[in-house]
């Protein structure tokens, strides 16, 4: 999806607002949203579906509202789409049915339990697959000219561009299909692009940009 989220290389967003404040949260509500996002998940949801739901936020809201606000809106949308809460309940500001059908309410976790869960939540996305790899390190490749109409992790700025395979990452869950609820693994590579290949003003540059890309985004150059 060629959405507002695909920001790489877009111009006009101004200088970086460098901020030396290292507090993790600048407002109480940001911490609340972080916590909600950690402890609440709808069954069957995938990280790629959640990301896609965030990408579907109206552009003016995506750019104009604070970062964790967009997480809250994404959470609302995934819960509503999966039927766990309803638009009527949003408007009412409370649950409208006693029969939540979600089993017992979740119990409280302590700090120690949460730290353990963070450690246990080091989710791996790779798996062994029987398909041989199509590319080897050092090989020249060219990326697809167009993206997927749904979720994809091939940014617009790196489409139709020539790069070099820098490393093989293993077979990882393919995001374009994971965002539709289908989990398949596909070979994933670190691909190196010369800045000069990506940007008209970088012709004389020797800088590099590295992306992690799935095999079906790539063809032999």
């Amino acid at each position: 999806m060629d959405g507002i989220h695909d920001l790489g290389g877009k111009q006009g967003y101004g200088p970086i607002e460098v901020d030396d404040d290292e507090s993790p949260f600048h407002h109480d509500w940001e911490g609340r949203e972080w916590g909600i996002a950690q402890c609440a998940r709808t069954p069957g949801i995938t990280i790629d579906w959640w990301r896609h739901c965030r990408e579907l936020i109206k552009p003016e809201d995506y750019l104009g509202r604070p970062y964790f606000d967009s997480w809250a809106q994404t959470d609302f949308s995934t819960y509503i789409e999966a039927g766990w809460i309803t638009l009527d309940e949003i408007d009412a500001g409370k649950a409208l049915t006693e029969d939540t059908n979600f089993g017992n309410p979740v119990t409280a976790m302590t700090l120690q339990q949460v730290l353990q869960e963070d450690h246990d939540h080091a989710v791996r996305f790779d798996a062994e697959i029987d398909v041989p790899v199509a590319f080897s390190v050092g090989q020249l490749v060219i990326t697809a000219r167009h993206g997927n109409k749904g979720h994809t992790r091939l940014p617009q700025y790196a489409r139709g561009r020539r790069g070099t395979i820098n490393a093989y990452n293993g077979a990882h869950v393919f995001p374009d299909l994971s965002a539709e609820g289908t989990e398949i693994h596909q070979h994933c590579y670190s691909v190196c692009f010369a800045a000069a290949e990506l940007w008209p003003e970088s012709e004389a540059s020797h800088d590099k940009v590295y992306l992690d890309l799935w095999e079906s985004y790539l063809a032999q150059a």
């Binding site: 790489g8 290292e22 408007d91 990882h172």
Partner: protein
Amino acid sequence: MPEFDAGKVAEIHQHLHSHLPSESALRVKALETLLVDKGLVNPQTIDAWIEAYTDEIGPKRGARVVAKAWCDAEYKNRLLQDASAAIDELGFLGKATAHLKVVENTDQVHNLVVCTLCSCYPFSILGIAPAWYKAAAYRSRAVRDPRGVLAEFGVAIDEDVEVRVWDSTAELRYLVLPQRPPGSEEMNEEQLVELVSRNSMIGTDRKLGADSKGKG
């Protein structure tokens, strides 16, 4: 269960745009109220997650990994080979770091990390990402004008140094291993930890030590 219906989600966002209060604090309050009402989240667990990422999990973890790598060549080798296993030796493996890669700065190379498509970040080793990392200005410019971005952080990169930008487009996450500052040879690991800034592990700080801008 989700139906993975993007059209439906676009309609939901439209509804939320006009039906939710405009203030972020009230929107999040509305979400928490509903989810607690439904028994889907527990408010004390939310408190515990806030505490975990305020007091326990943050850039101090990354700084410890860097200082250890500076002091212990074998640890550094393990870190560069398999960073997830190496941080697990210190108990720091966790959220978003199962596929961690460490990229090393040298006299000839400077590394910079970004996520142009969302805001992917190695949470369990660096904590919550800084606001600028998640903002449109950084996400749009880091891949196109990295030297200009670095200049705004007060970091000048010599012409002969190659800048490598790592766009986190898959589930791999990146941690920059900054160079050990000159003059720190006598310092022990504990003292070195204090020299490692958060930004140096993202790549928006380069020269650490006495003239470093400190924690930034």
